[in-house]
């Protein structure tokens, strides 16, 4: 597979996620696909997590900001946005299985994800670095400390 073919597979994957076309994921991904960053094993578990995202964030949308490929790897810098309008079954490793009642908040997640592609199928998300600051803040999990408010008064009016 060429680098351009691998990048095209990843672009199709993001498009399928945005169009809610889970059937297309069966073509693009290996059945034993593993997401190491979110600790989800198997394609079914990953599709289930996506379904939960759509329930919690009906307008969940992911944009590829940058895509770089070498060998069998494709690195994607992405931005995900959505409004928390539904009940969301969270499965982030740091939070564990929890159901979050809708907050109505608009959230943004950015990150860089490393995918591995073998013989035209996405076999794993090898790693992912996520900036979840806005996500946690909007959902009400974190707040600035007194120290932060004193140091950055303009930011916390």
């Amino acid at each position: 597979m060429s680098l351009e073919e691998n990048k095209a597979i990843i672009r199709s994957f993001f498009e399928a996620v945005n169009k809610r076309n889970l059937a297309l994921l069966d073509e693009l991904m290996a059945p034993d696909y593993v997401d190491h960053a979110l600790q989800l094993r198997g394609l079914e578990a990953n599709k289930q997590a996506l379904t939960e995202s759509y329930k919690g964030f009906a307008d969940w949308h992911e944009t590829i900001e940058d895509i770089t490929a070498e060998g069998d790897k494709v690195w994607v810098r992405f931005k995900g946005t959505g409004t928390h309008t539904g009940e969301y079954q969270e499965s982030l490793p740091s939070i564990g299985k929890t159901t979050l009642a809708p907050t109505g908040k608009k959230i943004t997640i950015t990150g860089v994800l490393v995918y591995r592609i073998v013989h035209g199928k996405i076999v794993e998300k090898e790693s992912g670095v996520y900036d979840l600051l806005d996500f946690y803040k909007q959902l009400g999990f974190i707040e600035p400390t007194e120290k932060a408010k004193k140091l950055f008064p303009k930011d916390f009016k």
């Binding site: 680098l3 940058d66 770089t68 490929a69 070498e70 060998g71 790897k73 690195w75 810098r77 740091s94 939070i95 564990g96 929890t98 950015t110 990150g111 860089v112 490393v114 790693s127 670095v129 996520y130 900036d131 979840l132 600051l133 946690y136 009400g140 999990f141 974190i142 707040e143 600035p144 400390t145 120290k147 932060a148 140091l151 950055f152």
Partner: protein
């Protein structure tokens, strides 16, 4: 420049920074280097970059970055890195001085560098700020947050 040459430029940068050999940054960073254009975090040119890392190393004298993974394509080099540091000095950041907390910092980030004719012209980063800012004592879990992820409460 080949992909391997571009990766070598970035490896040299990490080595120079870890060894506090900032003179090398003048060779490696292009005069028109930019990061975070039009944001409060904007860094321009070798001087801007060196100034930032100088202040960083004052705040964290043992700041060390390890390259966990690196790929390159065209003029880009992507690096997944881990940072370890101890906040034992004053850190001047965005015009605010953060007094030493003594806290150990460990966080992960990805840098996407652009290298043209052997010089670094741009960097974009995604950082695990949740971990970093918690470790510095700038953010904390809310009551709701504590209930949801009790293991993370440090």
């Amino acid at each position: 420049m080949s992909l391997e040459e571009n990766k070598a430029v970035i490896r040299r940068l990490f080595e120079a920074e870890n060894n506090r050999n900032l003179a090398i940054l003048d060779e490696l960073i292009a005069p028109d280097f930019i990061e975070g254009r039009n944001t409060p975090f904007e860094l321009r040119g070798p001087e801007g970059y060196k100034q930032f890392v100088t202040m960083l190393f004052k705040g964290f004298p043992d700041w060390h970055e390890t390259i966990e993974d690196i790929i390159a394509e065209e003029d880009k080099v992507c690096v997944h890195l881990n940072v370890t540091a101890t906040h034992t000095g004053e850190w001047n950041f965005l015009g605010v001085t953060l007094a030493p907390t003594g806290k150990k910092i460990t966080y992960t980030a990805v840098n996407i560098w652009r290298v043209v004719d052997g010089k670094i012209v741009e960097r974009k980063s995604v950082r695990d700020l949740l971990v970093f800012l918690t470790q510095l004592g700038l953010i904390q879990p809310t009551e709701k947050g504590k209930k949801l992820f009790p293991e993370n409460v440090k």
